[in-house]
């Protein structure tokens, strides 16, 4: 894994332009890191987020404010965090975590073992937690070799103060802000607009280099690029078109591994797509390469599989080429020309463009696609279209974690991911069912301003802003 991570970073770096020279190696303290994101965060609870891109942004904030028992290094290996060390029995069923002494909440109060236990217990079904001095004992109820990864990634398993946080933030009213033990403390929250975080001076893993982070929410990609160019922002989320433009202009662009699947998903109960030949004809009519080249500006990879190559290692086995002749043949077998409705999120430009592109391809195969924006709140409504363009986040550090992540979303069967043939067979079976047509694996694209030094992020896109420093800042 280590070698892969390095190789990936090398590839990422190749996609980036050379980092600006003129700054010394040793990080400097001070300054405000200005971040702009597209999501408007209306809540601090990812489970409450209507928009899951919003949930992603909330999780990134959580990572700045809260600690975990264990965290993942850039290679996806569990490393000590609030837990100093751990051991488990032969079945990996019973675990003992020795807790780190001297950790403080961001308000200066000491973190007690009881608070760690309270923060974790009851959040994962099947896990029971109890305390033995400064050792946390976790009984997983059965073999759980992946427990460390779960502790490092599950959104509910952060160490947070139970009495502060979420309720006042949801309403946007002033009140107690979340308290954690992480590298930054949230000091200002304007729902949907702005958040400010201050460096935790007493952070057990060393005070962050920047003094504060200011996050502007709800910024359009085009505006973000403009702010980056004008020096008003240091880190911005970019859509492919802006990223390509910025790259051509010599800006630094950081690309993650492909962490999203852009796909078509059929409505399971829609009569028009019950005939498998209709779905197959549509799948074989799509020119994925053109979508990747034109709409994604050559970022990402064409996808025939659910899991990207960097996670599975076998995604190349899934065909991605269009087969228009066979699509037309199938269309001929169907008889009546299918006329389908494809929906897209009206706030997602790429989804709209993809739907339009797919409609053009489908027409070549004799299938009519009517492209429609989905109504507000569409995710909680009965399906009104025969299919829709979706993005599915797949940003875990390994295949098993990714399978856990999307097992419910796509209803892909859970399998023993440690036996590669089984994982491949399960995914192959799911893709062959044509419940979903994979299109493109998309990376996360960030524009990085010239002041930003030591930017590092693991392939799956988590941010480590505590390690970032700003050029030219003085302590």
């Amino acid at each position: 894994m280590r070698h892969f991570a390095c190789r990936f970073l090398a590839v990422s770096s190749a996609a980036c332009l050379a980092l600006a020279a003129g700054a010394a190696t040793r990080p400097r303290y001070g300054g405000t890191l200005r971040v702009e994101i597209q999501a408007k965060l209306s809540t601090f609870d990812p489970a409450e987020s209507l928009d899951v891109a919003e949930a992603e942004a909330v999780l990134k904030l959580h990572a700045l404010i809260y600690d975990r028992l264990v965290r993942l290094d850039p290679e996806g290996q569990p490393q000590p965090a609030i837990a100093l060390s751990w051991e488990h029995d032969a079945q990996a069923s019973k675990w003992r975590f020795k807790l780190r002494p001297g950790v403080k909440w961001q308000d200066g109060a000491p973190l007690t073992p009881e608070e760690v236990m309270t923060a974790l217990e009851g959040h994962v079904a099947g896990l029971s937690v109890r305390l033995a001095g400064d050792v946390l004992e976790v009984d997983a109820g059965g073999p759980s070799p992946g427990l460390l990864t779960t502790l490092a990634t599950d959104a509910s398993l952060t160490i947070r103060r139970s009495e502060a946080g979420t309720p006042p933030l949801q309403g946007g009213s002033p009140g107690a802000l979340p308290i954690g033990t992480g590298p930054f403390r949230l000091t200002n929250w304007e729902s949907g607009r702005r958040a400010v975080l201050q460096a935790n001076e007493d952070y057990w893993d060393g005070r962050p280099f920047v003094d504060s982070i200011e996050i502007q929410m709800g910024r359009a990609s085009r505006d973000e690029l403009l702010d980056l160019e004008l020096g008003k922002a240091d880190v911005v989320e970019l859509d492919p078109a802006e990223a390509r433009r910025a790259q051509q202009e010599g800006k630094k662009i950081w690309t993650s591994a492909p962490v999203e699947l852009l796909c078509l998903r059929f409505g399971p109960n829609r009569p028009a797509v019950q005939d498998r030949r209709v779905r197959l004809a549509l799948a074989e009519s799509i020119d994925r390469a053109a979508i990747q080249k034109v709409l994604l500006q050559n970022y990402g990879d064409v996808a025939g599989s659910i899991f990207p190559q960097w996670l599975s290692g076998y995604s190349f086995l899934f065909p991605t080429a269009m087969n228009l002749d066979h699509a037309r043949q199938l269309r001929g077998e169907i008889g009546v020309a299918p006329a389908l409705k494809v929906g897209y999120d009206p706030g997602d430009t790429l989804a709209r463009q993809t739907a339009e592109r797919v409609a053009v391809n489908a027409r070549d195969a004799g299938i009519t696609l009517q492209v429609l924006p989905l109504p507000d709140g569409w995710r909680r409504m009965p399906e009104e279209t025969d299919l829709r363009v979706e993005r599915v986040r797949i940003d875990e550090s390994n295949l098993a974690g990714a399978a856990r992540q999307i097992v419910d979303i796509l209803r892909i069967p859970a399998t023993a991911q440690d036996i590669p043939e089984h994982a491949y067979a399960a995914e192959r079976q799911f893709v062959d069912s044509l419940a979903v047509i994979p299109l493109i694996h998309i990376p996360e694209l960030l524009g990085i301003g010239p002041r930003v030094m030591d930017w590092s992020a693991p392939p799956w896109g988590a941010w480590h802003l505590e390690s970032v420093s700003l050029e030219g800042e003085k302590p």
Binding site: F4, A5, L19, R28, S156, G206, T415
Partner: protein, 502 residues
């Protein structure tokens, strides 16, 4: 608004419990991988060895042979015995061409040893395409088995059997021997996977210049200061798998270091050995005193005692170890720099701008640099040091005179600088890292200061990652460089010296 989806957290818990039972993750992977390639994975501690190891290591090749055998067996399970097969191998992983050749050879050997009849593609009944792939957890070798007779009987839509094996990725840490440019001699003496702040050479390791080799029959030893303690390593000759003798560092003892306070994120430290088998470790807001005999011990206490800015063995006991060993700088306990106060040999104190590293210029260098010097007497307020070079917090270096007044700015250097008495050229040079980001490979170049300006006198010598520290060694003619290798993620310690031969 985008609608990328992730698992709803309210549903996540029960599903997670289910999947936890079914799926294995990183923790399990090494075990699984070991079924096919138990020798391929290099444990963290295995990285501690001398430079110049063979590429790839024998264990990696053994692992590949084993994995090739497993894949061959799986392939043959899908073939009727006696059928001829044609093997093609393609590589989409990070394996190099040489390694791919080795894997291909291993596959052919293993197939033949398991009674497969290999032939050319035209004559073969079965085409086997092996793809050398990889994912986050290791290599994945995948074989697609196309039986022409099945395809003709069942049609082109017949599923192609696919078999796979995991192969643990070996650490490539020892694969590229360090080249040695003409002007700066760079010798790797140690590496480890954990962060390394400083090392102290107790006896000269064999890889270094033989100035004070270990006594006959005795092994070279080093002390390594890490974030969690001090470790003593001993160099020993051990036979490798071919029976050849190789030198390796073996851990002898370690003493844990209790952090008395949170350390800065960019933690720094220095370790200094004294002649009486004692040593001092300087850490942010902390001073530790240790002993090598009879067992390695370490005692730490909160302290703002200044850190030595020069190399050399320190004399005296721990109570007065700061005396008589050259200027020492006060380190900011919650940052990564010296606060600018410098304690002098005469216990006087002077103030200069905060700095990341300081170089003390000898008289000949100060004269060469065009700094006014007053031989024979020290003016009031002067430091007794003819000149200084400071690496500042603003990314620039400064030349200071004996009164610690800045007289010139030096741009284009990195944070790490060290002065060396080489006897070459003007006799003294500054080695400076280059201005880089922590995520980039760094380089060190030698400079002489002429008329208050830096003049490069060597070609840069490249490192495989950022240089984290440059500290002078005992007599000031060599330096220790600590670097983080971006390819292997290992922390490496190098001994640097300036060679007269260009």
């Amino acid at each position: 608004m985008r609608f990328s989806r992730r698992i709803p957290f309210s549903l996540g818990a029960p599903i997670l419990a289910l999947v936890l039972l079914l799926s294995a993750t990183v923790s399990l992977t090494p075990t699984v991988a070991a079924q096919t390639s138990n020798a391929a994975a290099a444990p963290p501690g295995a990285a501690i060895q001398n430079q110049g190891a063979a590429s790839p290591s024998p264990t990696a090749e053994e692992a590949w042979n084993e994995a090739a055998g497993a894949l061959a067996a799986k392939i043959l399970e899908h073939m009727t015995s006696g059928k001829t097969l044609a093997l093609t191998v393609r590589n989409i992983s990070s394996l190099g061409d040489d390694d791919v050749l080795k894997v291909r050879r291993a596959l052919r050997t293993q197939l033949r040893s398991q009674k497969a009849r290999l032939t050319t593609s035209k004559q073969a009944k079965v085409d086997v395409q092996v793809t050398l792939s990889e994912n986050t957890e290791g290599y994945l070798w995948i074989a697609e088995i196309r039986d022409h007779s099945s395809l003709s009987a069942l049609g082109e839509d017949a599923a192609t059997p696919v078999v796979m094996v995991w192969v643990t990725r070996a650490s490539p840490g020892e694969r590229c021997p360090t080249s040695e440019p003409l002007s700066i001699r760079k010798i790797r003496i140690f590496q480890q996977s954990d962060p390394m702040l400083d090392i102290a050479l107790l006896d000269n390791p064999t890889v270094g210049a033989a100035k004070s080799p270990a006594p006959a029959g005795a092994a070279a030893r080093i002390l390594v200061l890490g974030l969690d303690g001090v470790s003593l390593y001993e160099q020993a000759e051990t036979p490798d798998t071919d029976g050849k003798s190789v030198r390796q560092w073996r851990p002898k003892q370690s003493a844990p270091l209790t952090r008395l306070r949170p350390w800065p994120r960019d933690a720094r430290g220095r370790i200094m050995v004294r002649p009486d088998s004692l040593f001092d470790a300087y850490l942010p807001g902390t001073k530790c005193t240790g002993a090598l005999e009879p067992v390695l011990t370490l005692e730490c206490h909160e302290s703002d005692e200044p850190w030595p800015l020069v190399g050399g063995e320190r004399e005296g006991n721990s109570a007065n170890s700061g005396a008589g060993v050259g200027p020492a700088g006060y380190f900011s306990a919650d940052r990564n720099f010296f606060d600018g106060r410098v304690k002098l040999d005469d216990d006087g104190e002077m103030k200069m701008p905060p700095f990341l590293a300081a170089v003390i210029m000898p008289l000949n260098a100060a004269t060469h640099a065009g700094l006014p010097t007053l031989p024979g007497r020290v003016p009031p307020g002067a430091t007794g040091v003819p000149g200084w070079v400071l690496s500042g917090l603003d990314g620039r270096a400064q030349l200071l005179n004996s009164n610690a007044k800045p007289v010139a700015d030096i741009g284009g250097w990195g944070s790490q600088i060290v002065g060396l008495q080489s006897g070459c050229g003007a006799g003294w040079q500054v080695l400076a890292s280059q201005a880089r980001d922590l995520n980039e490979a760094d380089a060190v170049q030698a400079y002489e200061i002429v008329n208050r300006k830096p003049v490069p006198v060597s070609t840069p010598i490249e490192f495989a990652g950022p240089i984290i520290e440059l500290w002078p060694l005992a007599d000031g003619s060599e330096a220790i460089a600590i670097s983080r290798n971006l390819q292997t993620e290992a922390y490496e310690a190098f001994r640097l010296s300036v060679s007269c031969g260009q």
